[in-house]
């Protein structure tokens, strides 16, 4: 029983990290149809900022955390300004490739100027505290992650449905020029979205580095690939969908890891992704996406 509870907690923690990243992807996608594969590099920027600060002797967590998050936000804003703004009206595939380009560029920059090898970053080790509640082992990090994802998801949903800026973001996804035609400063709208996604990535970076204690140029790739999948099973572009998709993915992963007989262990990925494929084939609009009959209309 304790074992099961423990694993459920683990799944929630896995899931909330995916959710955090998926939200960052979803907000950018939902406003400009961009599948931002460079989201992982925003995490990397946050992580390397911590490393550089430690090398410069500024290794206090109180200093490192806010600055890393800030660097991630600035990184996201810079990506938007330099790479994504010019391809704003272009087809999805163009945006996706531009994001690949950014991702390759940033990874190689860290590789060239810092190192191809992992570097240890242990300032946040303090967050790896274990608290025992009865027989349950709770990691402070897991609880924080879960809490932060919850708060962030709710906050974002409120923001997007209640504020004019949020409305404009949702509108911009489909008709960018029209948003400008009602007098909204479109650049600001998009920059805000990128800023938010950078913020989410920055927070994720703090959690990831705290757990790994180490950084690498390509550390952002796998988490973001998973988050991308989470987004889609939740219904791409839907924020609650991203959060739910993230959690679900966490449960699928942990579930398969725990339940699959060891001799099939090598097929873990195959089975996880076969399940995802099954979800997509049966509900292509995603779990939270609604399938409404549109006729000749659209939405």
């Amino acid at each position: 029983m304790d074992f099961v509870l423990q694993q459920i907690l683990n799944a929630l923690a896995f899931g909330s990290e995916y959710a955090l990243l998926a939200l960052g992807l979803a907000i950018v996608f939902s406003i400009m149809g961009l599948v931002n594969f460079a989201h992982g590099e925003i995490i990397t920027i946050g992580a390397y900022t911590m490393y550089i600060m430690i090398v410069m002797g500024l290794g206090s967590p109180l200093l490192v955390i806010p600055l890393a998050v800030l660097a991630a936000v600035l990184g996201a804003l810079a990506f938007e300004r330099v790479a994504f703004r010019p391809v704003r009206y272009a087809p999805t595939s163009t945006g996706m490739l531009t994001a690949f380009g950014v991702s390759i560029l940033v990874q190689n920059a860290f590789l060239l100027f810092i190192s191809a090898r992992p570097r240890a970053v242990s300032v946040l080790g303090g967050l790896n505290v274990t608290v025992w509640v009865g027989p349950l082992r709770l990691q402070l990090l897991q609880i924080l992650e879960l809490g932060v994802s919850l708060v962030v998801t709710l906050g974002l949903i409120l923001f997007l449905t209640r504020s004019t800026l949020g409305l404009a973001m949702r509108a911009a996804a489909r008709d960018f020029a029209m948003v400008r035609l009602v007098g909204i400063r479109a650049n600001r709208v998009i920059a805000t979205a990128f800023g938010i996604s950078g913020l989410l990535a920055g927070i994720a970076a703090v959690f990831i580095v705290a757990r790994r204690g180490s950084i690498e140029p390509d550390m952002g790739f796998m988490p973001v690939l998973k988050a991308f999948v989470a987004c889609v099973i939740g219904g791409f572009g839907s924020l609650p969908g991203a959060a739910v998709g993230g959690l679900l993915l966490g449960f699928i992963e942990v579930g398969i890891l725990v339940l699959l007989p060891q001799q099939w262990g090598g097929l873990t990925d195959a089975i996880v992704f076969a399940l995802i494929a099954l979800i997509l084939v049966t509900r292509p609009q995603g779990l939270m996406g609604r399938n409404v009959e549109l006729g000749d209309k659209e939405r």
């Binding site: 009959e293 006729g295 000749d296 209309k297």
Partner: protein, 239 residues
């Protein structure tokens, strides 16, 4: 012969169609008018298989095509245009038509045996733009291209959703001639929705009027023009 019987369609709380019935013979041009949101486009959507009705049937020469998807309707010879244009934006004008023609050649070869693409493009004043991407045409040209594309399916039923929208009197008069010519040459049944009354009255033999999802009047042009109910909810004053 197209027979629409007892169609009903709900969208959430909105009844878009309530027990709508309508007939249209080969070679007949039928006008369909009514206030905004009356359900005209929805009816066309049902006939063309784009919407699945909650109840009722659409029979083409006795065969039911309702609710079987747009492909089935198209194969049966039902072609349509869209109120909000749906061209293949990045394909050329000629390719837009070719898409329909390819289907027709495979599925209804007899219907398009006499179809002369070049002559039709000349007739629709699209020939000079035939190799340009559809998205670069002006709104009026795009509407004409939609009609021509529908024609290239060799339809036995042609559904036109506001074909004259965005055209002035001179242009819509020319368009009316064009549509009449289609009827004469291809002998198909044509249902036309439009809010341009000059256009619709000049073109059609009979008119069906809808309001709130139901048919409220049906008859020859002159009778409709004078029907007080139609004047009250739709026309506002006698045209």
């Amino acid at each position: 012969m197209l027979e629409v019987r007892g169609i009903g369609k709900q969208f959430g709380g909105v009844s878009a169609l309530r027990d709508v019935s309508l007939e249209c013979r080969k070679g007949e041009i039928r006008g369909l008018i009514g206030p905004n949101g009356a359900g005209k486009s929805s009816l066309i959507n049902v006939i063309s298989g784009v919407l699945t009705p909650d109840k009722g049937a659409v029979a083409l020469d006795g065969r039911n095509v309702a609710g079987k998807g747009p492909e089935v309707a198209a194969r049966a010879g039902i072609a349509r245009t869209f109120q909000n244009l749906r061209l293949f934006a990045n394909l050329s004008v000629a390719q837009n038509i070719e898409v329909a023609l390819t289907s027709a050649r495979a599925l209804r070869p007899d219907a398009v045996r006499g179809f002369d693409l070049h002559a039709e493009m000349v007739a629709f004043s699209l020939i000079a733009r035939s190799e340009d991407a559809a998205r670069t045409l002006s709104y009026g040209d795009q509407r004409r291209l939609e009609i021509l594309r529908a024609l290239a399916l060799g339809p036995s039923v042609l559904l036109l959703d506001e074909p004259a929208a965005g055209m002035n009197d001179v242009e819509s008069a020319a368009l009316a001639e064009l549509i009449r010519g289609i009827r004469d040459r291809f002998g198909c049944a044509i249902i036309v929705i439009d809010h341009d009354l000059h256009f619709i009255m000049k073109l059609s033999e009979r008119i069906t009027v809808m309001d709130m999802g139901a048919v409220i009047a049906e008859g020859p042009v002159d009778a409709i023009r004078r029907d007080p109910k139609v004047i009250e909810i739709y026309l506002g004053s006698t045209p």
